[in-house]
Symmetry: C2
Subunit: 183 residues, 2 copies
């Protein structure tokens, strides 16, 4: 699969390949007081975020890519359930979920490589149920940026647990002043 | 070193210990188009951020902790140079800088453990040149939150390179709408 420009699918796949190792280094074995704490009502903990990434591997990225290849714009993507992890993570440990994510991501990237996409495939169009027409190239870039948005969120959720402990240094810590508590 | 509360120095040291592995997993070997790109004029690339973290290991955290132990409030901390990395990183590779950070962090955490701080040490006071009186406990918490603020920034800087490529999905990606382009 070649690049359309200097930041193409190859660099994106490089980032996607790294995410399991990044999450393992950051979270595996971390105390529950950090892993299970969130930013307040209706926000996500690190544990919830890993569950959300798993659900994306199962139902979002590769399934949507296949819909684009098979049906183009004629069939809209299935809507993504942003709260599925609260059912699916129940009773599981963070370590189990990290293993699950690592395996699913690896399988998905192997499946993506096996498709042997060509440059002309990157411009294929699909239909998002809310956003309308999107391209396969945009879907791949979004997969990457979605990993990064949740790494960004993870750093913020963990830092939030230190919001009082840092005292006056709070003023210098951008992570404590990031707008909005969504992903 | 015991905890003052459930989120004490032990958990903080756990996070600090992980950061080199997190940065290595995220950045080592990543293409320059991602590592060397920033968010525009006067912003930092991933490469610059690693240099900033190195400078903190050399001149900020443990030196300030020692000033608190040795001089308390009578001697203000030396101001921190937020632009030192632009001189010190020149001509070096990301891989060299990651190795340097890994070694310095390991040495600093060994030195911190060797101090064998007790609960009563955590309330010792020092003087920040701009923020005024701070405690040793706040300094330790800030070391942790500072790692996380730069991980948050790293995710944002990398995601920024995908701001156009994601097309209409931009609306759903919080990392592309984080207020401010500082750390």
């Amino acid at each position: 699969m070649a690049s359309l420009n200097k930041l193409g699918p190859a660099e994106g796949i490089d980032v996607l390949t790294r995410t399991p190792a990044v999450l393992n280094a950051l979270l595996r074995g971390l105390p529950d007081v950090l892993v299970r704490s969130n930013e307040g009502k209706d926000t996500w903990s690190a544990f919830d975020i890993v569950g959300h990434l798993i659900h994306g591997e199962r139902t979002d990225w590769m399934p949507r890519l296949r819909i684009i290849l098979e049906s183009g714009e004629t069939r809209a993507f299935d809507p993504f359930d942003r709260l599925a992890q609260f059912r699916q993570s129940r009773g599981k440990s963070l370590e189990q979920r990290l293993d699950e994510f690592t395996r699913l991501r690896s399988d998905n990237l192997a499946a993506l490589r096996a498709l042997n996409l060509q440059n002309e495939d990157l411009t294929r169009r699909g239909r998002h149920p809310a956003l309308g027409v999107v391209t396969l190239s945009q879907l791949l870039a979004t997969w990457v940026a979605h990993d990064l948005t949740h790494l960004h969120q993870l750093a913020r959720v963990l830092a939030y647990q230190y919001r009082d402990a840092v005292g006056p240094w709070s003023a210098y810590l951008g992570v404590l002043h990031c707008g909005g508590h969504s992903a």
